[in-house]
């Protein structure tokens, strides 16, 4: 059973309701459109309102101090704040009122920025009237608020990390070091993720697989960490502190003893995704020597079921998935990214063999022995054009949308440096190459990254700048030309001169795409941003937490990042998990159903309407010598959906802090014919 944490009840039911109303300028974000002084004047006339103020920024320390002072000195016992979205600062202000000794649930937040000033910039009167009505509704609700206590539950000191790339590994290790057990689930047969496909990482030029190896070695050896490869989360229920997770793990398909022999005997091949389709691999394989786990595994997606001939015997491989039922107090999403895959024909990709993506070039370069010349499609490479922003910074109405109807209008952030880093490597390894970087803007923003840009300039890489809506054109050269491909670009550095560059290879610096993790998103009920990457609860205040409590983000699942940033995010995520689960208990908001015993007559409609197992039941009580039935809520199992509220014939049940009476009062305030704002004019 849940325990309840007791806040001081500073406002007994009998106490006079004294409302403080605070309209934030939000540094001009609100006050440039909404006439905040007029809002304050109007709200100050409402009954129960004892103080109404504005401030340039109530979320600042000084702004919060004003509210705290009013609570302490003016006896304010209900607080209404009109400010940015509640998702950004609701918790900030709950903490503010708590510090002043007020129950945190005697505060109501009204969103005046995203839902008013930012969308009614051309209608200042309308925006001001809207603010007054919404704030009036907030006061109407505040009058009916009662002190509440959060629900405190025991939490499993066990975390689930989804994704075995560099971010997932870092998170798993950091969490485990805090004494919390970790299950690391990786979909592919091997750990390491995208980082394992790189050969050299900027700005230090270190060998990425060596760095990964160190991390994997530590994680694999750590007693608190269980690694499940070829495994996927297939069901999740529960809540922060107590997620029930089902993981389905495919078998590796080959025993340790037979793995190498079967891999050698296997003849079935498929394109090798480790090399981005440039080569083929067997369906029993490992991506590279030194990977973890070290032995080959069966690729069940591509294995055709045919027997493998080994030592005169036919061996048929069988996938026998295992199901693991886990409990986790918190979940880290480290699902990573996919490189943008250009459409067929986009810059000639898929149609002209001499057009490749940057990840493909990096893999191809790894297979060119030192001192050997660079060739592509059987031809020596003399001239290379690298085109930036492929699949990034696309424009609505200019670029062809993707399958989901959207364009990638974000900057992928790492491709400029990655492209320049590769150009520098090409220059060092193949000094006679002519290199052209075709870019919109150079965004080498990290420490040591600008130096790579300068190196590229110093090493005679030629830069041509194009405009976003006039991207370069790539075409196959006419037969007999000296080069197989022609790149045309309108170069803004030479005042729009149209330049034609004959090249042997076009390299597309592709951006990062969010992974296809729809089923995971649906299971966890987490949000994605407009860019389709997973969305944090607040970009500044809660940068690695999701809105769903107990779920945190690590690395590029959240958006384009370089390795350094991914690792920072991963460690931050681990710190959040450790702080959440370290106490062995978590607090949940008290937004659950509550029965008014004086009104409940045991009709039972609530029990029929409720779909949450064990959330509500009819119980029999002895009262004045007779048996009565009443609904009883189990808060830990109640989700606060309110299905019980809508069907109760006696209005005997409500969701705490979201009651029907509060909504009716808010509607009345919004609908009133003679609103407070016109009174303010008098």
């Amino acid at each position: 059973m849940p325990e309840e944490k007791k806040f001081p009840e500073t406002t007994p039911a009998s106490e006079e309701v004294r409302v403080g109303v605070y309209t934030c300028h939000c540094g001009g974000n609100i006050s440039h459109v909404v006439r905040c002084e007029r809002v304050t004047k109007s709200l100050g006339k409402l009954s129960n309102v004892v103080v109404a103020r504005t401030d340039p920024s109530f979320c600042s320390d000084t702004g919060q101090a004003i509210i705290e002072k009013d609570i302490k000195e003016l006896g304010v016992n209900r607080v209404v704040i009109g400010a940015c979205a509640p998702s950004l600062h609701e918790q900030t202000f709950r903490n503010t009122v708590t510090r002043a000794g007020l129950n945190p649930y005697l505060y109501h937040h009204v969103g005046l920025r995203e839902q008013d000033s930012w969308v009614h910039g051309d209608d200042k009167d309308g925006a001001t009237e809207k603010a007054i009505r919404l704030m009036s509704a907030g006061v109407a609700k505040a009058r009916l608020l009662i002190p509440l206590d959060p629900i405190r539950l025991g939490a499993e000191k066990q975390a689930l990390v989804i994704g075995g790339g560099v971010a997932g590994l870092r998170s798993a290790l950091d969490i485990a070091r805090q004494g919390i057990r970790v299950t690391l689930v990786e979909k592919s047969p091997f750990l390491g993720g995208r980082m394992a496909q790189l050969e050299s990482i900027f700005p230090t030029d270190e060998e990425p697989r060596q760095l990964l190896h160190e991390l994997i070695e530590q994680a694999a050896a750590y007693p608190n960490i269980t690694v499940l490869t070829q495994a996927e989360v297939t069901a999740v229920s529960g809540y922060v502190g107590n997620f029930n997770v089902r993981v389905t793990q495919r078998s590796r398909g080959v025993s340790d003893e037979m793995a190498e022999a079967l891999a050698a005997a296997c003849t079935q091949e498929t394109p090798d995704e480790f090399n981005y389709g440039l080569t083929r691999r067997k369906v029993i394989c490992r991506p590279y020597e030194g990977c973890y786990p070290p032995l080959p595994a069966v690729d069940w997606e591509h294995y055709d079921g045919q027997p493998i001939q080994l030592n005169g015997k036919s061996v048929v491989l069988k996938d026998e998935p295992q199901v693991h039922e886990l409990t986790a107090g918190a979940i880290v999403l480290a699902t990573g990214f996919d490189p943008y895959e250009p459409r067929r024909g986009e810059y000639g990709y898929g149609e002209i063999p001499e057009v490749a993506t940057l990840p493909q070039l990096i893999r191809a370069l790894s297979r060119v022995p030192e001192g050997e010349p660079l060739t592509w499609n059987g031809h020596p490479v003399r001239d290379v054009a690298l085109i930036h922003c492929v699949g990034s910074r696309e424009l609505d109405g200019v670029h062809e949308p993707q399958a989901d109807g959207q364009v990638n209008n974000y900057c992928s952030r790492v491709c400029c440096t990655a492209s320049l880093h590769t150009a520098v490597e090409l220059r060092q390894r193949f000094p006679k190459l002519n290199l052209y970087e075709l870019y919109q803007d150079i965004r080498t923003y990290g420490r040591g990254h600008e130096e790579i840009y300068r190196q590229a300039q110093a090493k005679m890489v030629r830069f041509l700048r194009y405009h976003g809506d006039e991207r370069p054109e790539v075409a196959a050269a006419p037969a007999g030309d000296t080069h197989p491909v022609l790149v045309r670009v309108k170069d803004t550095l030479t005042y729009g001169e149209e330049i034609e560059i004959p090249v042997d290879l076009v390299v597309l610096a592709v951006g990062m795409m969010p992974r296809q993790i729809d089923s995971l998103v649906n299971m966890l009920k987490v949000s994605r941003g407009a860019d389709r990457f997973l969305l944090e609860a607040h970009p500044k205040l809660r940068p690695v937490e999701m809105a769903v409590r107990g779920i945190v983000l690590a690395g590029t699942a959240q958006g384009p990042m370089n390795i350094q940033e991914s690792l920072s995010a991963a460690s931050a995520a681990a710190a959040k998990v450790a702080s959440l689960l370290g106490q062995g208990r978590v607090e949940l908001p008290p937004f659950v159903a509550r029965v008014d015993e004086s009104k409940c007559n045991g009709a039972g409609a609530c029990v029929e309407a409720c779909l949450e197992e064990g959330a509500i039941a009819l119980q029999t009580f002895q009262e004045n010598g007779r048996e009565v039935k009443r609904a009883v809520v189990t808060p830990a199992n109640c989700t606060g959906c309110g299905a019980c509220v809508g069907v109760c014939p006696n209005r005997a049940i409500d969701v705490q802090a979201w009651t029907l009476a509060q909504y009716e009062a808010m509607v009345d305030a919004i609908a009133m014919e003679t609103p407070a704002f016109s009174e303010a004019e008098k």
Binding site: G111, Q115, V119, H120, K130, K525, G640, G642, L660, I670
Partner: protein, 145 residues
């Protein structure tokens, strides 16, 4: 529009789920895209908490249009998708008995990043209300509705 009150605008109430429509409205704000100011968004956990009488009461108080922006099958609540649809049907039945045009109550699935669908719903309701007028006029003269 049949209001006698010069400049009076119909009022649109949007009941938006925290997991869907409310975040969608915030995303619309982040896109700085304009829509009519006579829209009042209230956050809700899940719309199934409202009985049909709640909507009728709101109309009788002077709310001219209500859009429920819910999360549909993406909701964190098992009951939301089917429960809300059933609620709407019950509400329409009650509205008819009170002479209220059922087009004043709409249900829309709006996700956290549904900026365009959000704007479409708001603008459609605003256009509808321009055509059918204030709810109080309709309730006062049901035969004309």
């Amino acid at each position: 529009m049949t209001s006698n009150e010069k400049g009076k605008q119909p009022k649109i109430l949007i009941l938006a789920t925290l997991a869907g429509g409310y975040a969608g409205a915030d995303a619309t704000g982040q896109a700085h895209t304009d829509y009519p100011a006579n829209t009042y968004i209230l956050p809700v956990m899940c719309p199934v908490m409202f009985p049909p009488e709640f909507f009728v009461r709101a109309f009788e108080r002077g709310i001219d249009g209500i859009i429920i922006m819910y999360s549909g099958t993406d909701s964190p609540y098992k009951v939301e998708a089917d429960g809300t649809a059933a609620l709407i049907n019950r509400s329409y039945a009650l509205m008819k008995t009170r002479g209220i045009d059922i087009r004043r109550l709409r249900l829309a699935a709006i996700c956290t990043v549904c900026v365009k669908p959000f704007l479409k719903e708001v603008n459609q309701m605003a256009d509808l209300l321009k055509g059918i007028g204030f709810v109080k006029d309709e309730i006062a003269a049901p035969a004309a509705a």
